[in-house]
């Protein structure tokens, strides 16, 4: 029976999508997963490839992900080389023409955004830099909105029968997100101009949005762990004019940050970074609520 069903599936072909089936979406990060869920409601079936406790740079092209890529109607990725170490393998191995690069079923959030830190020259001696710009875009709510608009268009193109449904959900999300963004910005106003130490270059968009001023980074170069000597210079540099906060992410090793925190008497605050990075960050709204709350709590 199963064999017959498999054969039938093979013959029918994925090109002719049944009219009432939910779109199968493979999202590379919990944030794009949550956004797709917001916009797609019950018309999408979302599988998220990573958790907030993983470093998205270094994820394995696991068999389970290849299997999900095989049946996906849409891949929602960040792009800008964030997933370069594993996503190409999933797409290659998937045997799924719908999600190949350039196909309609392949969506990159970065294509809807203006990336920060586009290097004018690249060399690996500079560490893990991304030639297309900094890909850690999700911690600026304006970016989320821009991606939401582009993603809604894409969902409507993939599933034209539900275009009105997606448009309505997008409009609703738009209103709620806009209001929430205003609240976050008002709440976070006291943070503007505060000096912070960041971990990796992945809090750049958050700093840019809230007007936080990065005075140092715990990684001497992107992706390069700090040496004792480098941390020593940081202490020397920051003792006289201590910053307000040290920011790190749920997936980071907290050792270096807490070491520095003790030396320069500056609180280190662990931010969820992605949906699921803290118990409060259940969805995108929770992610930003919790990020702002944690920042404010540590700032006092």
């Amino acid at each position: 029976m199963k064999f017959i069903r498999l054969t039938a599936l093979l013959l029918v072909g994925a090109a002719s999508l049944p009219a009432n089936a939910a779109l199968k979406v493979l999202a590379t990060t919990p944030d794009w997963g949550a956004l797709t869920q917001e916009l797609g409601g019950d018309k999408v079936n979302v599988y998220v490839a990573t958790t907030a406790l993983q470093d998205v740079h270094r994820v394995e092209a696991k068999p389970s992900l290849v299997a999900r890529a095989r049946s996906a109607d849409l891949v929602v990725a960040t792009g800008a080389e964030l997933e370069v170490g594993w996503l190409p393998v999933l797409i290659q191995e998937s045997g799924n023409a719908n999600i190949q690069k350039g196909a309609r079923g392949y969506f990159e959030a970065a294509s809807a955004l203006r990336l920060l830190e586009v290097p004018s020259q690249v060399d690996r001696a500079m560490g893990d830099i991304h030639p297309d710009g900094n890909p850690h875009v999700q911690l600026d709510p304006h970016n989320i909105l821009a991606v939401a608009h582009a993603l809604t268009t894409r969902l409507a193109q993939l599933d034209p029968g539900q275009a009105a449904y997606y448009a309505a959900r997008a409009k609703d999300f738009d209103t709620r997100w806009d209001a929430a963004t205003k609240t976050w910005e008002a709440k976070a106003a006291p943070l503007r101009g505060a000096q912070v130490v960041i971990m990796h270059r992945d809090q750049v968009y958050l700093c840019h949005w809230l007007g936080l001023v990065e005075v140092a980074s715990i990684e001497p170069k992107p992706g390069v762990p700090p040496t004792a000597a480098y941390l020593g210079t940081l202490v020397g540099k920051l003792t006289t004019t201590p910053p307000k906060l040290i920011l790190l992410n749920a997936y980071n090793d907290p050792k270096a940050a807490s070491w520095l925190s003790e030396r320069i008497h500056t609180p280190a605050v662990t931010l969820p970074f992605s949906v699921g990075g803290s118990p409060e960050a259940k969805d995108l709204f929770g992610l930003f609520d919790d990020t702002i709350n944690k920042l404010l709590a540590a700032f006092k």
Binding site: K62, P63, A67, R104, V118, Q157
Partner: protein, 455 residues
């Protein structure tokens, strides 16, 4: 207008350093900064213009999609967020280069290394020569060919100044329903390690089983068809046919193909941190006048040529546990079993027996643990077993051979692109009761495009 702006920016960038007074470092730096700023500003302008354009296009596309629900227009091509690539070179393939080399010390002469009970399987096996050795420099080119195919070439430039085509294949990208077809020269998809490129191995060399039974790795010159089942559990089936050019097969003097391989893999996750894959494979190959025979107790070959069938089956398994981005445990093992039957001949081609039979097998189990962000330690146990060959007039004193080996490994990975490794082996491959102690230091560096690794 946009083009004019970027040209202006380019000219500004090109002339700026020339105008900066070289004598004064601070002034030079300021000038450079200014140039950067100018460049950045013009780029932001260009990007803003592009975003506006895109937004209009997107809005139009969305409207259109919602208006006529039937056939939406194709999505507008996303604007690249990096610098615009120019002209013909924009289509250049991704290029990556692996540099490798080692320093080897052995307690016994590597020149007379051979695996007891197994016929010689080519010249790419064994501990290699003593002292400094330049490894293979692997050069890989890859790109989409058109909307239907992609292509890959991996050439190995050896320390002996030869260029070998390691892999050169096309692969389909436009098939649906989990189908992928690959053609050309490629590492056969059986087992686990056969498809893994040397720079991604967890030890300096392949397990003895792969060395003795496939001369290291089996390359298929032919076609592979793979089908991935539409299930949440990973389930793939593959079939290959080639020309048989590679141990234990040979090319045949007839039309048709040689070296049919069938394989299947099953894999999935256990919780958030653990993933696994298991597989089973079967290879049926034929050899005609394959040179080299099983050595007797004194190391002399019992025969010089083999003509007959060689059937191999392989089971493989791998488990990875990654509780944090900085720690990972990987356990893998494979069992290979081969049966050969046919006729054997001497160096002149005179048939010695036509009822030759031999059964051999090998397995390994290895584990690698990343205990700190940059450090990994590993251990491997290797074992081989070859029954005494049976045929009319076989010498009566032939014994079963059971070589084995223990290896320990430690590597340091300053970044994703560099690896320095030390490995120590207790090698009992020769089976004369004397252990060869082998130690090796190895470097592996990758430059160029960021490669994506298979599971």
């Amino acid at each position: 207008m946009r083009d004019f702006k970027s040209v202006a920016a380019l000219i500004a960038l090109a002339t700026m350093p020339a105008m900066a007074p070289a004598a004064d470092d601070a002034a030079a730096l300021r000038a450079e900064l200014q140039a950067l700023k100018n460049d950045y500003n013009s780029r932001v302008d260009a990007l803003e213009a592009r975003i506006k354009q895109l937004e209009t296009a997107n809005a139009a596309a969305a409207d259109a999609a919602m208006a006529m629900a039937a056939a939406p227009p194709p999505p507008p091509e996303p604007a690249p967020s990096g610098a615009p690539a120019g002209g013909a070179s924009a289509f250049n393939p991704a290029i990556s280069l692996i540099l490798g080399g080692s320093f080897t010390g052995t307690s016994r002469d590597p020149a007379d290394w051979h695996i007891a009970g197994f016929p010689p399987a080519g010249d790419e096996i064994g501990p290699g020569e003593r002292s400094f050795n330049l490894g293979e420099s692997e050069l890989t080119f890859s790109a989409s060919i058109d909307p239907y195919f992609s292509g890959v070439l991996t050439a190995a430039i050896t320390g002996e100044n030869e260029i070998e085509v390691e892999e050169a294949y096309f692969r389909t990208t436009a098939l649906h329903n989990g189908l992928t077809i690959k053609g050309g020269r490629f590492f056969s998809g059986f087992g686990y390690l056969n498809e893994v490129h040397a720079h991604a191995w967890d030890f300096v060399d392949q397990p003895l089983a792969y060395q003795a039974m496939f001369g290291g790795q089996y390359k298929q010159n032919g076609v592979q068809v793979k089908w991935l089942a539409p299930t949440d559990l990973f389930l793939e089936f593959g079939a290959e046919a080639g020309n048989g050019d590679g141990y234990p097969a040979t090319r045949l003097e007839k039309n048709g193909f040689n070296g049919v391989t069938l394989f299947t893999h099953l894999g999935g996750d256990i919780g958030d941190y653990t993933s696994w894959r298991v597989g089973g494979s079967w290879l049926t190959q034929r050899a005609e006048g394959r040179e080299g025979g099983i050595p007797d107790a004194d190391g002399f070959p019992l025969f010089d040529q083999f003509t007959g069938d060689s059937d191999t089956w392989v089971v493989d398994g791998v488990l990875k546990w990654a509780p944090s981005p900085r720690r990972q445990l990987k356990v893998q093992g494979e069992y290979l079993h081969r049966r050969e039957s046919g006729e054997i001949a001497d160096s002149l081609g005179t048939v010695l027996a036509d009822n030759y039979r031999n059964t051999s097998s090998g397995w390994y189990l290895q584990s690698v643990y990343q205990f700190a962000p940059r450090w990994r330690v590993g251990a491997r146990y290797d074992s081989l077993e070859s029954d005494a060959p049976s045929y009319t007039f076989a010498p009566p004193d032939l014994l079963d051979a059971s070589p084995d080996r223990v290896s320990l490994m430690l590597d340091w990975n300053p970044s994703e692109f560099s690896r320095l490794r030390a490995q120590y082996d207790w090698d009992n491959a020769r089976d004369d009761g004397e252990t060869d102690r082998i130690w090796r230091l190895q470097y592996i560096y990758g430059i160029g495009a960021h490669g994506a690794h298979k599971y």
